[in-house]
């Protein structure tokens, strides 16, 4: 397992475009948004969250779009399949590495930008935790979409995975409101964490079944 982790981490680290690209786009979006409204920036701290949430959604999609396609194209997925290695472990490792290298930095960027735009310092960690659990859910959902639509383009990927991701956005919006108004934070966080952990355990099973179907 450790070997697998270091192997996947090594692979991702050398694909600079795959992990640094999404993070830079996130920063760019979060900088561009305040510039696109008028200079008085009335109520910016209220609206700023929604742009963080939406950019989290879009960039999670972007980041996982090619999570399996490169391995599929260069034949390494087929090799794993033929060697009858545990597909579940490979998928789980891949998603974990992506969350670690892209998801968590994304959440960090999101919470830092919300701090810079007027969220109190003691609430910033709360935002970070919420965003981290949301990326856990979103990365799993979008990896599933990317596994289904492997090398068939983004349109199919969006159509199949967006319906599953939209309820998460509603939940995320609600979680952020609890931080803003200071009530029911733990309840919503437990719900997010519960959904996230269940998905993190179950999704790799479904994704490996999907990938096997592609390879059969």
């Amino acid at each position: 397992m450790i070997n697998l982790l270091t192997h996947e981490a090594f692979k991702l680290r050398h694909r600079l475009r795959a992990w640094l690209g999404p993070l830079l786009i996130m920063v760019l979006v979060l900088i561009a948004f305040p510039l696109s409204i008028d200079v008085s920036q009335y109520d910016l701290n209220k609206f700023y969250f929604s742009i963080i949430v939406v950019s989290l959604l879009v960039i999670s999609f972007l980041a996982t779009e090619s999570i399996f396609s490169e391995d599929y194209e260069d034949g390494s997925l087929e090799q794993i399949y033929l060697e009858e290695k545990d597909f579940y472990k490979v998928v789980l490792t891949k998603i974990s590495i992506y969350i670690f290298f892209i998801g968590i930095p994304m959440s960090l960027i999101g919470s830092l930008f919300s701090f810079a735009n007027g969220v109190a310092a003691d609430e910033t960690p709360k935002i970070f935790v919420i965003l981290t659990f949301s990326t856990l859910i979103l990365f799993n959902i979008f990896s599933f979409g990317s596994a289904l639509s492997i090398n068939k383009g983004a349109m199919l990927g969006v159509l199949v995975s967006l319906p599953l991701a939209l309820p998460v956005i509603v939940l995320l919006g609600r979680a952020i409101r609890t931080v803003q108004y200071g009530e029911g934070f733990i309840e919503v966080l437990s719900l997010l964490a519960g959904v996230g952990l269940i998905l993190a355990a179950v999704m790799p099973i479904i994704i490996s079944a999907t990938l096997k179907t592609h390879l059969e």
């Binding site: 199949v160 319906p163 309820p167 999907t210």
Partner: protein, 243 residues
Amino acid sequence: MITSFIHRFSSPKSFVEVTARFFSYVMYLGLFLLATGWIWGLAFAPEDAIQGNSYRIIFLHVPASIFAQLIYFFMAVCALMHLVWRVKLAAYLIKSSAPVGALITFIALFSGSIWGIPTWGTWWQWDARITSTLILFIMYLGIITLHSSFSNAEKADRLMSILVVVGVVNIPIIKKSVDWWSTLHQPASITISEAPSIDLSMLYPLLISISGMGLTLIALGILISKLYIITREKTKKWVQNYV
């Protein structure tokens, strides 16, 4: 035992032959019930005290919304059958139900948004049930697109089944969303466990419209599946004998 039973009664050939026998009964009964329910609802049911005559959209909107969800549920059962027992017919039925589901979900959304104008004063609101029906509509489109993206039909069948089973988690969200999120919607008019909150003179035409809509959609589904089965199996001998 179960597997052999399922495989015996689920050959595409016997499906086409059996449904051909009662297709016209289903279609004409469905259209008759739909016409009865709608004429009763539009012309004879009393005016609603609060919503006035605009409530008459209920006789179309409620059946459409019910079947928008039921068709997905049916597809999920078929998807499980396809994944567990590899029943070919189940995959054919999913593929042919998806356009029917998309059509009726679109009708539910369309009728709902028009009904919203006189009732809520707005044609679209990001209300829980509308949003979840929209999500359901996108899911139907996703299923249709996914299947048509792959040239290998068997592979497409399996991928589609996986997507349908994963997507079924959205159905309880749709069902429960009214309680979870704040909503403009009136609570459901008919539930199984409680007495209906709607007057009998409105309930009867509603129930007739629901059953009429159900039968009409089943007839449409049968027709589309027949088309699809013949397309998929056109090289088989039974198809050439059948046509």
